[in-house]
């Protein structure tokens, strides 16, 4: 059948400048009813691929004079293709037409969206993503306002969205819920950021089609679509860093087939190695890491169906600052007073205990089918995650991990989507997950968490309505999860239990175009999460924590593990409301987000008392429930008075509180302010660009930190036979929050085009002034300063 699309080409004559490769192409993508299409894939043949932003806009820079063709794709719409010449055409206004029934084009991709159009989201892609190359995923995401990290030393970063992290953030790695042992603050996400061509942060809780746990938000890591043209392309990234004397090499090759239409493949791999990082004054011994990752992908996309297979492996070994290895409260006091930390030695690449060895394997098979009854998607994912943590132990036990866990996860997702009319889109699906966690025998320790098997089933529906100036999304979901656990208590006696949870989630979002005053998006969502077994059963001392953790089911009088059904447990539920206003003019872009998250039955570690063991006196913490609130705002503004120069600012503000106890929560990210200026010059020579950027980050002191109860106070009170937490079990910290700090950073970049290839050279200096400082949300702050100046040189060759 005939493709029907309406195009409106608005031609602007750019004027012959006599400078090739400095042209721009920009445009917008909408529907016939003038609805903005955000997230549409825009492919400018031989020049790149991008997605439209929240206002349906796209832009390509640094184009040379010549003939181009463009292809634009979006779920449920006929693809758009056109050819034109630069510089005669500089702006495109594309209107996509809804797909009726059968299709005759080849490129039918899985057009199920990861985000709805009313999400409050931010995307890290293109140049901004390139700037983070060489960093881990958690560190890279800090570029986005409202996102921070909780850290353990210089190599372990966990992303924090609006104050929430770990089990309260959902991570989607190539469309699959990332399942790792993410319950500890020192467990970083096992994802290679080089896989991503874009990373989307959804700051609200409305991504209900992926299941529970998105109380704080969602991180979506998307690879680029597989190529479908014949020929081979790829890129090579090389990064060298002074701090840690670290190197990163990453390569990707992809191609399509001429013989088999619609077939594409990609091979990608990354290796990273770092030695000890260093502060301005001393080496941080045993903070190096090695990492090796690769992924393989292939897919074939025929007229109305397609199938994709993807495999990835992530593996890392990373050292934990040796000076943070302590085993009693007195050790903690000694370690906090020591500068530099004990065990500090000259720089080395060797990794000794304490260290972690972590691997994550993902196999994904995805199929999709477009039919008269709508679009269907099936997706199966198998994840196998291993985690070994090695402590400093007696010599005979040094080679035995203190924690050794295997996690198997099977997920099956089936999804259906159909346009009931031009204005209404229905999306429904079911998700099933089976997960098995095993403690691998041989640790010679009582396991920190028990073995468990869980079965989860969920069903959802999302409706999307398009009105004149409004977009409205609403959704509902129900999940059920069953757990079987088997573990060992303090006396190494076994226990087992079996229990279930079920609950519903809802979301409502609306987005309105305010003419030339921008776009306003509001989203209200309720979500919940079943407790992780670590919150119910944890037993023991976490590496470098100097505190004993007890799960919620541990009886504080007897130390025994209670039956789940004998305690009054309420599921943790969140109600998150996020509003964003975006405005964009030629010379001015601004975005303001206000967010409020009320979490009922928030599970957290509460200080409960002091216990004496043979190793001395320990404060102990018990997982407890309370009501908590997280309120905040993210502001972003950018001024571009000339094409060469821009100034931008970013602010992230957050206030968290324990409502039930009228108290502060610990490890809440502090307020952050960033100001940057960029100068960019297109060279006279063809295809060359030079840019230089400086930015400063001011991180305030956490003024809403819990009270301080020092180790000396705990020990003195205990010596007087008093328990400092007995009558006052407010949250506490061993030391006061570190003072505010300021960092200056500088970056210069040069890019050069050679035919179809492009070379990007970038020099980046972070903490240029080599300031000594400590970060409140880094657990290493008790023991050592943060890393000092780092200069990174990166090369990227795309071909």
């Amino acid at each position: 059948m005939k493709l029907t699309y309406v195009i409106l080409l608005l031609l602007f004559y750019a004027g012959a400048k006599g400078q090739p490769c400095t042209y721009k192409l920009s445009g917008t993508v909408t529907t016939e009813t003038s609805e903005i299409l955000a997230g549409a894939t825009v492919e400018l043949i031989t020049s790149g691929i991008t997605v439209t932003d929240d206002q349906g806009r796209f832009q390509f820079d640094k184009l040379c004079k010549g003939k181009y063709s463009i292809r634009i794709r979006f779920v449920g719409f006929n693809p758009f293709e056109a050819s034109f010449t630069i510089p005669e055409t500089s702006t495109l206004k594309v209107v996509l037409v809804i797909q009726k029934t059968m299709l005759e084009v080849v490129e039918v991709h899985d057009h199920f969206e990861h985000v709805t159009r009313t999400n409050n989201q931010a995307t890290l892609t293109g140049n901004a993503l390139d700037q983070t190359r060489g960093q881990s995923l958690g560190e890279a995401l800090k570029k986005i306002s409202g996102v921070s990290s909780i850290q353990t030393g210089p190599s372990i970063f966990k992303p924090v969205i609006h104050g929430l992290h770990s089990q309260r953030i959902l991570m989607l790695n190539n469309g699959i819920r990332q399942e790792g042992q993410q319950w500890g603050a020192e467990h970083a996400p096992e994802i290679d950021p080089f896989i991503a061509s874009n990373i989307i942060i959804i700051k609200d809780a409305s991504a209900i089609k992926y299941g529970t746990d998105a109380l704080g938000g969602v991180v979506v890591v998307n690879p680029a679509d597989l190529p479908e043209q014949k020929g081979i392309g790829g890129e090579i990234n090389l990064v060298a860093q002074t701090n840690g004397r670290a190197g990163t090499i990453s390569g990707m090759v992809e191609g399509g087939s001429e013989k088999v239409k619609g077939f594409g493949w990609r091979v990608q791999g990354t290796g990273r190695k770092s030695g000890d990082s260093h502060t301005p004054a001393y080496n941080l011994s045993n903070t190096g890491f090695t990492e090796f990752n690769f992924s393989l992908a292939a897919g074939i996309h025929k007229e109305a169906k397609g199938i994709d297979v993807f495999f990835s492996r992530f593996q890392t070994e990373l050292g934990i600052l040796k000076g943070s290895s302590i085993s009693s409260t007195e050790d903690l006091r000694n370690a906090m007073k020591r500068e530099p930390p004990q065990f500090t030695q000259p720089f080395a690449y060797t990794i000794e205990n304490p260290r972690q060895v972590v691997a994550h394997n993902l196999l994904k098979v995805k199929g999709h089918l477009h039919s008269g009854y709508g679009d269907f998607k099936f997706q199966y994912g198998f994840q196998y995650n291993t985690r070994q943590e090695f402590d400093i132990r007696r010599a005979s036990l040094n080679n035995a991990p203190a924690i050794d866990l295997d996690l198997f996860t099977n997920t099956l997702d089936m999804e259906w989507q159909q346009h009931a009319s031009k204005k209404f889109l229905s999306n429904a699906g079911i998700n099933a997950m089976m997960q098995v966690n095993n403690n691998v025998p041989g640790t010679q320790r009582i396991p920190f968490i028990p073995d468990f098997t869980s079965l989860t089933g969920g069903v959802f529906y999302v409706g999307k309505l398009t009105l004149q100036t409004w977009l409205v999304d609403f959704g509902a979901r129900y999940d059920y999860r069953h757990y079987d656990v088997a573990g060992f208590d303090f006396a190494n006696r076994s226990y087992t239990d079996s229990y279930s949870f079920g609950n519903a989630s809802f979301s409502f979002g609306a987005s309105r175009t305010l003419g030339n005053r921008g776009v306003f998006t509001t989203n209200l969502a309720s979500s919940w999460r079943p407790p992780h077994v670590s919150e119910l059963y944890s037993f023991g001392v976490h590496q470098s924590a100097a505190a004993i953790e007890y799960g919620l089911l541990l009886d504080l009088a007897t130390g025994e593990v209670l039956d789940f059904n004998s305690v009054d447990f309420q599921n943790e539920k969140a109600l998150k409301w996020v509003n964003t206003w975006r405005i964009s003019k030629n010379w001015f872009t601004a975005e303001i987000t206000g967010h409020a998250n009320y979490i009922f039955n928030y599970i957290y570690l509460k200080p409960y008392g002091v216990t004496q063991t043979v190793r001395g006196v320990y404060p102990f913490f018990h997982y407890t429930q309370t009501d908590a609130t997280f309120l905040g705002a993210d502001l972003f503004g950018k001024l571009t008075p000339t094409t060469k120069f821009s100034v931008s600012g970013k602010v992230s503000l957050l206030r968290a509180a324990d409502r039930t106890n009228n108290d502060y929560l610990i490890y809440v990210p502090t307020n952050r302010y960033e100001l940057g200026a960029e100068w960019r010059k297109e060279m006279q020579t063809a295809g060359q660009t030079f840019s230089i950027e400086a930015w400063g980050t001011f991180v305030d002191e956490q003024r809403r930190a819990p009270r301080v109860v020092s180790v000396d106070e705990i020990l003195d009170a205990y010596a007087q036979q008093e328990d400092p937490f007995e009558n006052d079990n407010r949250n506490f910290d061993f030391v006061a929050a570190p003072p505010a700090y300021f960092l200056l950073n500088l970056q210069a970049g040069f890019s050069h085009k050679l035919g179809n290839s492009k070379l990007d050279v970038r020099l980046r200096a972070t903490n240029l002034l080599n300031n000594a400082y400590r970060e409140y949300t880094n657990r290493m702050r008790y023991y050592a300063d943060e890393v000092g100046r780092n200069i990174a040189l990166s090369l990227k060759l795309s071909f």
Partner: protein
């Protein structure tokens, strides 16, 4: 659709592989590092009955406190050899791994006991011992009777002579440090990780 069939086949194979591998009961670990009981035996070198005190933690890392017997009741002007033994009291005395003393002895080159006591209790050693609160705390010699392969003190066996006094309610603290790779002529009680840290009450009677 053929690909869907293959997918289902793959699913069922993968699923059955996973299911079959994991419904075994978890294995119980030996826990050779878990010390819940420390026994001090003061044997008069001139003969006579030994003085024995123990400190016992009923639940390891659980919430219940360690309970120390006491006081240690010594006679004035008497020389004692103190031997220290370590146990996992959560096991039966017949179990392997119940007595952990030998493990420390085997790894003597990375362990050391330190002591602190009220002044005036002992005539030798004099002073108040060698546990430091901070790097500038003065330390006194301890009469170690054992040593590691490098000739550095261990402290499972020490010698003490009480002074010619009658005192009660004095303190006697022992600390066992694990100092892998850092035990040296200059390492102190501030180095390494703590395996044992217990304070007993000490009384000296007139003979």
């Amino acid at each position: 659709m053929n690909s869907a069939k293959h997918l289902l086949l793959f699913l069922s194979v993968a699923g059955s592989l996973i299911l079959s591998g994991c419904d075994d009961d978890p294995a119980r670990e030996d826990v050779p590092e878990l010390i819940t009981q420390v026994k001090l035996t003061f044997t008069p070198i001139a003969g006579g009955s030994a003085v024995v005190v123990t400190a016992t933690d009923p639940d390891g890392n659980g919430p219940q406190d360690l309970v120390a017997d006491g006081p240690i009741e010594l006679m004035q002007s008497t020389t004692y050899d103190l031997s220290i033994e370590l146990f996992n009291g959560l096991l039966d005395p017949t179990d392997d791994g119940y007595n952990l003393t030998a493990e420390i002895e085997e790894e003597a080159d990375e362990h050391q006991f330190f002591f602190r006591f009220s002044t005036g209790v002992f005539s030798t050693p004099t002073g108040s011992g060698n546990i430091k609160d901070n790097p500038s705390t003065p330390v006194d010699d301890i009469n170690y009777l054992d040593e590691d392969t490098n000739g550095r003190p261990l402290g499972l066996l020490t010698r003490w002579t009480t002074d010619n006094v009658e005192v009660s309610d004095k303190s006697f603290r022992i600390v066992l440090k694990h100092q892998p790779g850092i035990k040296s002529g200059t390492s102190t009680s501030l180095d390494g990780e703590t395996d044992v840290d217990i304070t007993f009450v000490l009384t000296v009677y007139l003979s």
